[in-house]
Symmetry: C2
Subunit: 288 residues, 2 copies
């Protein structure tokens, strides 16, 4: 936190501080990856598409089950159930009557997973009250405890999880939620996160707040329809979103973290010198 007006990290103190646009324009193609089409969902709402990338490295059982549900058409015609301001939106079956055909009921909890040196983790230099260490794995925000050899996904804005009841193993992926407010990091290690909204977050964040308890809608008229959910790799090629994501284990990403930690723009009078995990931008662009 010293030397707040000096560049830190990749750019070097004597070099020009690059802007975000300059960093992205100069990033080699290898710094980007396409979304993992086998683990990407397209959720079609009346106003457009929500693209969700799943995190099989963290929640393999849940991801497999959600994909099984999607292939069954489980979510097609279901609805948004809940929009609680500054917290989450949640979707699933409002009537609780839809049949599950091939998918599992009640999966084991995947709140955390084993961490070892073979598991990628790009540490963020950031003090964090909710985790001994924070950083990024597979372009997802995550926590890590080296002593316990555990890692887990973090409840930042746009993260998607699987609702559950009081029992740890009572989630099954039939009800999913996305964070639409200040990160409820107290949920970390308490519920299974399954991925992140990559595009279309603004379709979820503006859903009407019902004012009901926990934000649950009371009537069918209040609920937004889910037209369909599909796995990207199984959608017709001409209907696929073409998105790329900046890898979080690259020098380009590290430089972005640096310029967002210590602010050099003229507008900033106090250069900050710190960045929280959920304030780090994960960059997504159209593949052109």
């Amino acid at each position: 936190m010293a030397g707040l007006w000096l560049a830190s990290g990749a750019a070097g103190a004597a070099e020009k501080i690059r802007t975000l646009d300059e960093i992205l324009a100069a990033a080699p193609a290898t710094d980007w990856r396409p979304l993992d089409a086998d683990n990407t969902l397209y959720m079609e709402l009346p106003d457009g598409r929500v693209v969700i990338e799943l995190a099989p490295a963290y929640a393999p059982r849940h991801v497999a089950n959600i994909k099984a549900l999607v292939r069954e058409g489980y979510f097609d015609g279901l609805a948004m159930l809940r929009a609680q301001d500054n917290y989450v939106v949640q979707w699933g079956d409002p009537d609780g009557k839809r049949e599950i055909k091939t998918a599992q009921r009640n999966l084991p909890a995947e709140f955390t997973r084993e961490w070892s040196k073979t598991f990628p983790f790009t540490k963020l230099d950031s003090v964090d009250g909710y985790a001994p260490e924070v950083g990024f794995a597979y372009e997802f925000p995550a926590g890590r405890d080296r002593k316990k050899k555990r890692t887990w996904l973090a409840h930042c804005y746009g993260m998607v999880g699987a609702g559950r009841g009081n029992e740890a193993d009572s989630g099954d992926g039939t009800q999913l939620y996305a964070v639409i407010g200040h990160a409820p990091r107290n949920l970390d290690q308490n519920i299974t996160l399954v991925g992140r909204v990559i595009e279309g977050m603004e379709l979820l964040s503006v859903l009407p707040r019902s004012g009901g308890k926990l934000g649950f809608y009371r009537t069918a008229e209040q609920r937004t329809l889910i037209k369909s959910v599909r796995i990207a790799a199984e959608a017709p090629v001409d209907q696929r979103s073409s998105l790329k994501i900046l890898r979080t284990d690259t020098a380009s990403f590290a430089e972005i973290v640096d310029i967002r930690r210590t602010r050099h723009e003229e507008w900033f009078k106090y250069p900050v010198g710190y960045i929280g995990l959920c304030n780090v931008p994960i960059i997504v662009e159209e593949n052109k």
Copy 2:
């Protein structure tokens, strides 16, 4: 952070852990205060009222100017200018032509203020990367630096600030913003916060995202009308909102922080043991 399953603070390890509802039901009347009617604004939107409490202790010049603008009717008939997802909504004059009659142009920056022991500050036990200490003053989330004898308001969800240009003293209160996403704490000490949305936040958080640069709306049709803004104390008595706020310098509030820091509910399998400044609920209720 030790003894995560034991109660800490007011409740005592051997006593029953009270729920939020139990704490609030038992809180003495003196733990609550009414909103400060002289420093509370009613912003009437087509879908309802947004109640904003101003913070004259932190931004006296800005608050005085905003009240002068309100009394002029400056905001009446203006509009929401911008809704940037996971960041802010901002309102003001889309045409930049409205005359300022009695209010000042270009106020001195009020990014921080002097702190001394006579200034109330209820410290939160919470490691925070953006400030040496965090806590609450006058029911607002705030940072403090004892060495520099400074304190400042923190950009948590629902906080309201005064937009400015590149010059520190270029804000005047004619354009105001509210935080609608994960706390952009990097703005702390960089811009003047003037208060907080107390009620009606859900009217701002669902405003349509334009997709334009920084979320600015491009056309008049996209913008939500501000029907009027009034000072609560100057509104007809039968049109006033009757709200009370739980004082943050009370044992009741400390107990709420404790039960939100360490989770005792059956649902929580990992009791957390930490709470961030912007995750602490500031309690507002109807006066009955």
